[in-house]
Amino acid sequence: MSKITIDRHDTDILILGTGGAGMFAALHALQTAPAGTRVTIAVKGLIGKCGCTRMVQGGYNVALGGGDTVERHFMDTINGGKWLPNQDMAWKLCEQAVVRVRELENEIGCFFDRNADGTLHHKAFAGQTADRTVHKGDLTGIEIINRLMEQVLSRPVEKLQEHRAIGLIPTKDGSGLAGVLMIDMRTGKFRFVRAKTVLMATGGGPTMYKYHTPSGDKTMDGLAMALRVGLPLRDMEMVQFHPTGLLAGDHTKMTGTVLEEGLRGAGGQLLNGAERRFMFDYDGLGERATRDVVSRGIYAEMQKSNTSRNGGVYIKMSHLGPEMVRQKFSGMVKRCADSGFDLAGGLVEVVPTAHYFMGGVVVDTDTRTEMEGLYVAGEDAGGAHGSNRLGGNGVANSTVYGGVAGDIMGMDIRRMGALRDPDENVLDAEVARACQPFGRKPANIQELRHELQEAMWEDVGVIRTRRGMERGLGRIADISDELSEVGVATGNLAFNLTWHDWLNVRSLCDVSEVITHAGLARENSRGAHYREDFPEPGDLDSSCFTVARKSGHDIEVDCEPVQFTIVRPGETILPAGEPETLVEAN
């Protein structure tokens, strides 16, 4: 390789990612920052067209009707997260969701479904004690992101599309963030962007599992970058699995995509390889049990080899009447039909699929991190959900905290004088890291990714044990080493997806290692984390959350006690006499 050149660029506020968090941050930063502030958005794909916010189906949790209150939303969030959430973050999430949904409706132009009388329609997701999820059919994310996208595109924001962030570059003394190193994917050139404040909103995304739901651009780049600059990451063992991902074979990208929750809610049945219903063997609620319980039930059935053709189980809807299914779940039926499956009348193979990542960078309720100038919001930030995220709290979290980050950055920037200068050594090291595959003999990167996904699924998946996770660590290390030897041909680096695949697997390996270490550290079962060797949740009053950080080449995991700043286990903040649940039993 000839000497690598780095294009240098300056801005004031830099935002990484255009999911709900990134776009709200841009809009709010424009509102609060002094006039003339330069706002730049850099994103791995096209603005608004990548990331998971767009894929939100179910909807958005907000206490806006039917007797629901912020207190009740908060208590559900804490109970759902098994007392691990940062309570101040969870409170702000529930409280601000109300404002954010009004903003979405009144200022951004979203339309959420209405009742016949014209008021907002709320539905109930599993694990909630009120009907509180607002939605636009089952395409809520498209409505939210399209409207946000229009707003962002029509404002004076600098767009760096198909710019992939690969390194957070600190100042020489390490006290603050100087800027972000990226690859302009369209040309394959490096670009270093300095900014006074940077929001990282790259959306996590547990795509290191064999079956996963998030969009293809999400490969944990953000958390891998945070790890490398030494930031603390919390709750890293908490990977949420959705019980019903489509299973269609390893060779198709459709495998792993979500078949919606509502199918089970409406009475869909899960059958094992012998076409026998099995969920009641595991839980009294059968298929209607919560996500984690159903995922474990399916996983257990798979471990017994009672599997369908491709190694999963079947979902059956036909007993509800194919016509009714076709009508009520038209989108799902059509999607399955496009893939060659008959959801309304036949059996469709499903498998638990990695859906959401509860872990993330340690932040305060204003999205600030311990590094001056770096802010984190959305799925990249840890804390709001604890050990489990309620359906509908994901997009609420990213839009609420994205907006908060925008507001805070717009204010903080007033006290930040000049741009900070980067530690050129770190910058060079990051460039070298990205160029590592150059000059080596090309090999198949996809196979390596498959190996990693297989290892994580088997050893650090739905049901975990010490033995398994230790084996997993070994496998991850091997794959990581092998990756270091794999080359990428450098003939043409413009839009070179194979180079980016290499970088993707790099990020995924790094974060997989942290997930496994955190999983080993938590010797109990909470929410999404289930240890076969420690099946009990442990004492709630002395609940801890894991905090991992990189020190040298090692990952160190500490456990920090949860601060019950608002409510203690066994207590509630709901007024005395409030009913347990407002959801009518059906």
Binding site: G45, L46, K49, C50, G51, R54, M55, L64, V99, V101, R102, E105, N106, E107, I108, G109, F111, R114, N115, A116, G118, T119, K136, G137, L139, G141, I142, E143, N146, M149, E150, Q151, L153, Q161, R186, S215, G216, D217, G249, H251, T252, K253, M254, T257, V258, R335, S339, G340, I445, Q446, V488, A489, G491, N492, A494, F495, N496, L497, T498, D501
Partner: protein, 238 residues
């Protein structure tokens, strides 16, 4: 194993041509899977774009056998002819490289067509009470399911021939905004769609509606805009 003959357009803004690949046939296989297979196993330099892989993000549209389609939701069996498929970048947009196009013109027009909500209220106001059953609401509800995939834009020959034409998706967005009682400035939308590249350039070719993978109807939306702009014309002031 059974193999298919796949021709893929390779090149960049400077030009290019078709290249042939043999791709193993699988039971569940989309066009996107075919393209990804080629990049992962045959030619690591092939460029394309996708994100959601389930028909929600509109990143993956390409010309498949000369017809624009979302590739992540197009099963190979649907388009395979004589065991062959031809895949090319989406029409009517500048090519970046191989199968990836620059979608900026599409989105610039989306904004130019007035496709941005004009707020009349703020986050401090309550959510508006709106009847979900009015015909306008029902029509808007489907219209806003658009995933901005640009398939309609690629299908339209008016777009191909008239550089200023805003195109079906942008105009359909404008129509849904016009119908939305929450929008505080409907006349701004009518102005935006009445210029030299506006809705009046559409020749009702109907390809937009025919090829829209979400079964939306931009042709009808554009007719709606023509109707209301014409009415506004008679009321004067325009």
């Amino acid at each position: 194993m059974q193999e298919m003959d796949v021709s893929v357009w390779r090149g960049d803004a400077g030009g290019g041509g078709l290249e042939q690949f043999k791709v193993p046939a699988q039971e569940s296989q989309t066009i996107l899977d075919v393209v990804a297979w080629i990049q992962q196993y045959a030619d690591p330099t092939l460029s394309y774009r996708y994100a959601c892989r389930v028909g929600m993000c509109g990143s993956c549209a390409m010309m498949v056998n000369g017809v624009p389609r979302w590739t992540c939701r197009t099963h190979v069996n649907k388009v395979l002819k004589d065991n062959a498929i031809t895949i090319a970048p989406l029409r009517n947009l500048p090519v970046i490289k191989d199968l990836a196009t620059d979608m900026d013109p599409f989105f610039d027009k989306w904004v130019a067509a007035g496709g941005v909500h004009h707020p009349g209220k703020s986050r401090d106001d309550a959510i508006e009470i709106l009847d979900p059953a009015t015909p306008a609401r029902v029509e808007t509800d489907t219209g806003i399911e658009c995933i901005n995939c640009s398939v309609c834009y690629a299908a339209c020959d008016t777009v191909a021939n008239n550089a200023d034409f805003l195109g079906p998706a942008a105009l359909q967005r404008a129509w849904t905004l016009y119908l939305d009682p929450k929008d505080a400035d409907p006349s701004a939308i009518l102005d935006a769609v009445s210029g030299r590249g506006g809705c009046h350039n559409c020749h009702s070719q109907g390809s937009c509606t025919l090829y829209c993978p979400n079964e939306l109807n931009p042709m009808k939306a554009i007719a709606g805009l023509k109707r209301v702009t014409a009415a506004a014309f008679f009321k004067g002031g325009r």
